[in-house]
């Protein structure tokens, strides 16, 4: 039982980490960024390349090297996010939302198959592997990397929440989400704020990509697809656009999957998870923490 919970929470925190970026981007331009999972994939591949180039450095211990590489990868994916927004999404501002969504699918294809052309379709094995000796707490096997990854996810979440809810820039982000023209009239440089949001969201995804690569050890050009869908699901369950919600949604999804496999077997896992979700949303149509928007007439 406690193992089940722990497994669920751990997998869930990965979902959450990606869902955070998802939710941020959604929060500001109401875009379901289907390419977000691919940014995660880019983070993994980029760090793979950097590590290949710095193999000499590996001597100084894998954790510091990994942190360094992660920072570089975050910068890279951050700028990739900004770049993608600039060329693919910005021209579509003010167009129907679904147009942007489809563009995101196009971006997703492009990123996936560009990486496939460069690295080939086979998975690559990541040069650094995090594996700690497990300790048993309350009957659950827990490793140090797991704990570290979860703490990182939690810290990022609190940081982001503060940033969005309590700073001027965060307020501007939320304002843009509601009314871009009115934000302009308040003196908000809409482009800049949106770029910054993409930077943060994509950097987070990149970080998650590096962590996943180091933890699981193999990366491939389609690795972002499924996790992107999961993150989207998590963001929605949590109440899309809400940072705590994204986190909570990720954890809930992780738990659902863990228990689903346990109760019904791996083949019915997703049926269980989605079935539960559908049921849940029919009773709480705006997700766990999503605010009920009362639109006045």
């Amino acid at each position: 039982m406690s193992q089940l919970i722990w497994n669920g929470l751990f997998v869930g925190s990965f979902y959450a980490l990606i869902a955070l970026g998802y939710s941020m981007v959604y929060g500001i331009i109401k875009l379901l960024n289907f390419a977000h999972g691919d940014i995660y994939m880019l983070g993994a591949f980029f760090s793979f390349v950097v590590l290949g180039g710095m193999s000499g450095l590996l001597g100084i211990g894998s954790i510091p090297v990994l942190l360094l590489v992660m920072l570089i990868a975050m910068l890279f994916t951050g700028f990739m996010g900004v770049f993608i927004e600039r060329v693919a999404y910005r021209p579509l501002r003010g167009s129907p939302r679904l147009s942007v969504l489809i563009t995101a699918v196009g971006v997703s294809f492009t990123l996936e198959y560009a990486v496939r052309q460069i690295f080939g379709p086979n998975p690559e094995v990541f040069p650094i592997r995090l594996s700690g000796t497990p300790i048993t707490i309350l009957g659950a096997r827990i490793t140090l990397p797991q704990v570290v990854l979860m703490i990182v996810a939690a810290l990022l979440m609190f940081g982001l929440q503060r940033y969005i809810m309590h700073t001027r820039e965060g307020r501007a982000m939320r304002a843009i989400a509601l009314d871009q023209t009115a934000s302009l009239l308040m003196g908000v440089n809409v482009n800049k704020v949106i770029s910054r949001t993409f930077f943060i969201g994509s950097a987070l995804a990149g970080a998650a990509g590096v962590m996943a690569a180091a933890y699981y050890g193999s990366i491939d050009f389609l690795m972002g697809f499924v996790i992107g869908l999961k993150a989207f699901t998590a963001a929605v369950i949590g109440g899309i656009g809400n940072i705590y919600g994204a986190m909570l949604g990720g954890l809930v999804l992780g738990l659902l999957e863990s228990f689903g496999t346990h109760l019904f077997g791996g083949e019915w896992r997703d049926v269980f998870a989605f079935g539960f979700l559908i049921l849940f949303l029919t009773f709480r149509p705006t997700g766990i923490l999503g605010e009920r928007v009362t639109e006045r007439v």
């Binding site: 379901l32 563009t103 699918v105 699901t233 979700l277 559908i278 949303l281 149509p285 007439v297």
Partner: protein
């Protein structure tokens, strides 16, 4: 409802209006003519070139048009984001697949079952969830799509992951496409007959019917919900019922496309109903132009044919497809042929510049409501 109070009745219009343009360059006539020309071209095409490859990809493309027209009702007209639309295709394909291969039905006989199954599926998913708004609806439909696929993957009636194979082609009252037919010395094989069948019944029927649905009372109701659900209620439109209607009609179109696809491929498996395909159909609708019939047709042709035409580029083709998609959307944000597109060379109505006169007209004589 009591009827003893007066209802307001419409006054007759009293302002002269500029006449609608006429002739071949009038927008309506032009579009109808264009549609007819395209249709006839497709009809005679096999007489010009009938390579199995061309026939096969065109048949798939036509089936995609049926699918996209169905999704267009849901997404384009009613504005409901459906990320699991392919599930309805699965329901149709499996229903007729199972009935033909296991119970010896002919394709034609499965149609009523397909329709019923799709209505049930549409109501099951739509019933409890249609009060959700956009992205919550999106996730629920996505989940529904996955549930259908995984269930098909795990059950034995559906053939598990292998799916169903050996699905027969269409037959009518004892005569089957598989027999082929010779007309005026020309032999038409089963694939070509199926091509015509899909073209005439599938594309012809589905496109015309769905396009008409977009114009009448239902179409206005859907679009009003898409624009502003609250106000739509204030027009006397029951939002829930209207949305469910869109869903069910979309489901029927999807199921019909599934039946056609089953007969075309002769084999179906859960792998043909991955989320990716829901995304592709959605892409067809959005890329072409939501709620625009010519747009959706173009979009469906694009999505189904582009990967084929890009085959020459072999491994690069999905990269190119992705780039092409982005570029198209960036330059045509509302789709290739948007809903309210006006072709520049068509005649426009000559509307005289008006001075706001502002005098209000006479109201009709009040009548007692009957």
């Amino acid at each position: 409802m009591t009827t003893d109070s007066t209802r307001l009745h419409a006054p007759a219009p009293f302002i002269d209006r500029a006449p609608q343009p006429s002739g071949i360059l009038a927008p309506n006539t032009f579009m109808k003519t264009l549609g007819a020309v395209c249709f006839v071209t497709a009809l005679v095409l096999p007489f010009i070139s009938a390579t199995p490859y061309l026939i096969s990809i065109l048949t798939s493309a036509f089936i995609y048009i049926v699918l996209a027209m169905g999704l267009n009702v849901v997404v384009g007209y009613a504005g409901l984001l459906d990320l699991g639309y392919i599930a309805f295709m699965a329901v149709g394909a499996y229903t007729s697949g199972i009935l033909t291969t296991r119970f010896g039905f002919s394709m034609l006989e499965t149609i009523p079952f397909v329709v019923v199954a799709c209505i049930i599926a549409g109501v099951i998913i739509g019933g409890p969830t249609l009060r959700l708004r956009t992205d919550y609806l999106a996730i629920v439909t996505l989940g529904f799509g996955e549930i259908v696929r995984i269930t098909a993957n795990n059950l034995t009636v559906t053939g598990g992951p292998t799916g169903i194979h050996g699905i027969p082609t269409w037959s009518f009252f004892g005569w089957s496409f598989a027999d082929g037919v010779t007309i005026g010395g020309l032999y038409f094989n089963s694939k070509i007959l199926f091509y015509y069948f899909v073209l005439v019944v599938g594309v012809g029927g589905a496109v015309v019917a769905a396009a008409r649905l977009g114009k009448g009372k239902m179409g206005r109701a859907w679009k009003s919900i898409r624009d502003d659900e609250d106000v739509s209620e204030a027009m006397g439109i029951n939002g829930y019922r209207t949305k469910l209607m869109a869903y069910v009609i979309g489901a029927i179109w999807g199921g019909f496309a599934g039946t056609l696809m089953g007969a075309h491929l002769t084999a179906i498996s859960p792998n043909s109903f991955l989320f990716l395909y829901s995304a592709l159909v959605l892409m067809a609708v959005v890329l072409g132009g939501m709620a625009s019939t010519p747009g959706v047709i173009i979009g469906a042709l694009f999505v189904s044919l582009a990967p084929e035409f890009l085959r020459e580029f072999s491994e690069w083709r999905f990269l190119l497809f992705g780039l092409l998609l982005v570029v198209t959307m960036v330059f045509r944000p509302k789709g290739i042929w948007p809903e309210n597109a006006v072709l520049p060379f068509l005649k426009k109505r000559q509307v005289p510049a008006h001075e706001p006169v502002g005098a209000t007209g006479p109201v009709a004589e009040p009548e007692e409501a009957s």
